[in-house]
């Protein structure tokens, strides 16, 4: 007998999600390639792709659950559990390391009172150390919840950032210029 999880499926896609999923499926000749985009839709809707969400994705796309689990566990951007309201991914690789990425990480660890990989008790912040985010010229930098980059960090900039995030104000997109261009 199959050991079922004794939880009613707490997750459902909305009608808009399902329409989006149909559109995505039309981009590919078969249904399996939709696994990654639909996991993104699920993460944007529910904030993470824990086992129940993976099961929802597998059911919606009619793919084996083990396949969806394998894909979700391979890619690092899919959160396997609920994270804090703001996930701060601090890059510490190569250029960011040379320009003080680790100092920024330790500063945040002290400031938020958590170690890397942990979530703060009030559920506001999760702090992570990540690999190269493709902003090496603007090191050190961090990414907020798979979205905006905050570049050229200093301790003051971090202070301001944490304060505005606590107020619920996310920074906008910071356009980084190419140094030789004037008409950016």
């Amino acid at each position: 007998m199959e050991k079922q999880i004794n939880k009613i499926m707490a997750y459902e896609f909305t009608k808009e999600d399902l329409k989006e999923i149909e559109k995505i499926k039309s981009h590919y000749p078969e249904v399996k390639p939709a696994t990654l985009p639909v996991l993104w839709i699920a993460q944007n809707r529910f904030g993470h792709v824990d086992p129940d969400v993976q099961r929802l994705v597998a059911e919606t796309l009619e793919l084996p659950e083990a396949h969806v689990h394998g894909v979700a566990s391979f890619y690092t951007q899919y959160y396997k559990e609920k994270k804090g309201k703001y996930v701060l991914d601090v890059c510490t690789c190569l250029s960011c390391q040379l320009c003080g990425g680790y100092d920024m990480l330790h500063y945040l660890e002290e400031k938020l009172g958590i170690k890397e990989g942990e979530t703060s008790d009030d559920g506001m912040f999760t702090l992570n150390q990540v690999e190269c985010l493709g902003a090496c010229g603007y090191a050190p930098m961090l990414q907020i919840t798979n979205d905006k980059y905050v570049n050229n960090l200093t301790s003051e900039k971090l202070d301001n950032l944490v304060d505005s995030l606590k107020k619920g104000e996310e920074p906008g997109y910071e356009k980084m210029e190419m140094p030789l261009r004037k008409n950016n």
Partner: protein
Amino acid sequence: MSTVDWKKYEPVLIPDIKDLHKIDVYEKNGGYQALKSILTDKKKWADPKSVVNEVKDANIRGRGGAGFNAGLKWSFMPPADGGPRYLACNGDESEPGTFKDRKIFEFNPHLFIEGALIAAYAMEITTIYVYIRGEYLTYIKMMEKAIQDAYDKGYIGKNIVDSSFSVDFYVHSGAGAYICGEETSMLESLEGKRGYPRVKPPFPAQKGLWGRPTTINNIETLSHVPAVINRGSAWFKNIGSPTHPGPILYGISGHVNKPGVYELPSGIPVLDLINEVAGGIRNGKKLKAVIPGGSSTPILRADQLEGITMDADSLRTVGSMLGTAGMVVMDEDTDMIDVLWRIAHFYHHESCGQCTPCREGTGWLEKILLKIKNGEGEVRDLDLLLDVTTQMEGRTICALADAAAWPVRFTINRFRDEFEARCKKSVHAIA
């Protein structure tokens, strides 16, 4: 041949025009002319093969790191048999030190779109996918908008510019895996699976996405194509170094005063790039080491850089590679063991785990380097590291193991004294 007078260079990839990402501005500045030309001017461009030949003649060496002649790669596609054929554009850009493709997405996306469309026409392709790394959410949205604008104006879709050429263009987002920048791993990720690279042969041109002929090109590589069509391969070959022609988007980062992305001809002397373009080492320090093109390329000491220019052949003479031209500059205060350990950690984290030498080897390398970094290593550990790199290199399905082995081998070889100084003094006469 040009004397690489980079000071007088006029940018072609990302011209200095405001709002070039808007399709009206792009069209007004000569955009989509190349596409229209190959589709309508049958005297100049008789058939798709003529486009392939022009691009092959221009010798656009792949800007994704491997440096393979793009036009030559295009000619590997088999003749069309009526089934679907694919172009997969590699925008995964996760190599540490590389941050150039994002500029194209942001400032001149239509140039890339046009390049991809020309490539699709040349190789009789039915669907184009652009794979963008998941962290670039902003740029994914920018690309989706640009593609939608191009669809609306009839540059993508059915019967483009009233010709018989039809193609579809879709954006596929990654989700945080460096290995998916490897071409066959990207195909696996596009197919919705775990990003395990495939065994080659069969090559993607024969059996790519869903078993169909597929070509993979880097974003920057495809962005060169419209200019080659508009101005001819001879013009292109005249820019920069003769064996590695064309403009390159240099990404300079690290301990320099003016880090950022610069569009300049290939073949710039390395020292000019650091001292004149990027403003020299910050805080007046001295240069210690340079990684020329992303973390996979072997590191170079400051004294090895005399007369070396930024192109594949010149760098090869000193035992390095051009890679993605994402240069990382290190000043005299840099701790090489720290840097090397962090690079080894990167490859350990990003190894897909499919084949044995890379999966186990990257972990072993990182752990030994951690031991040395903490001051508990011995000189024989250095030799063990070099041995492990030999065990990993050339034995795996993809090149990640090579990319992980080279930094270890060359950094230790070129900075041996510094590493030995960090090791414990051995009790034995023979270390």
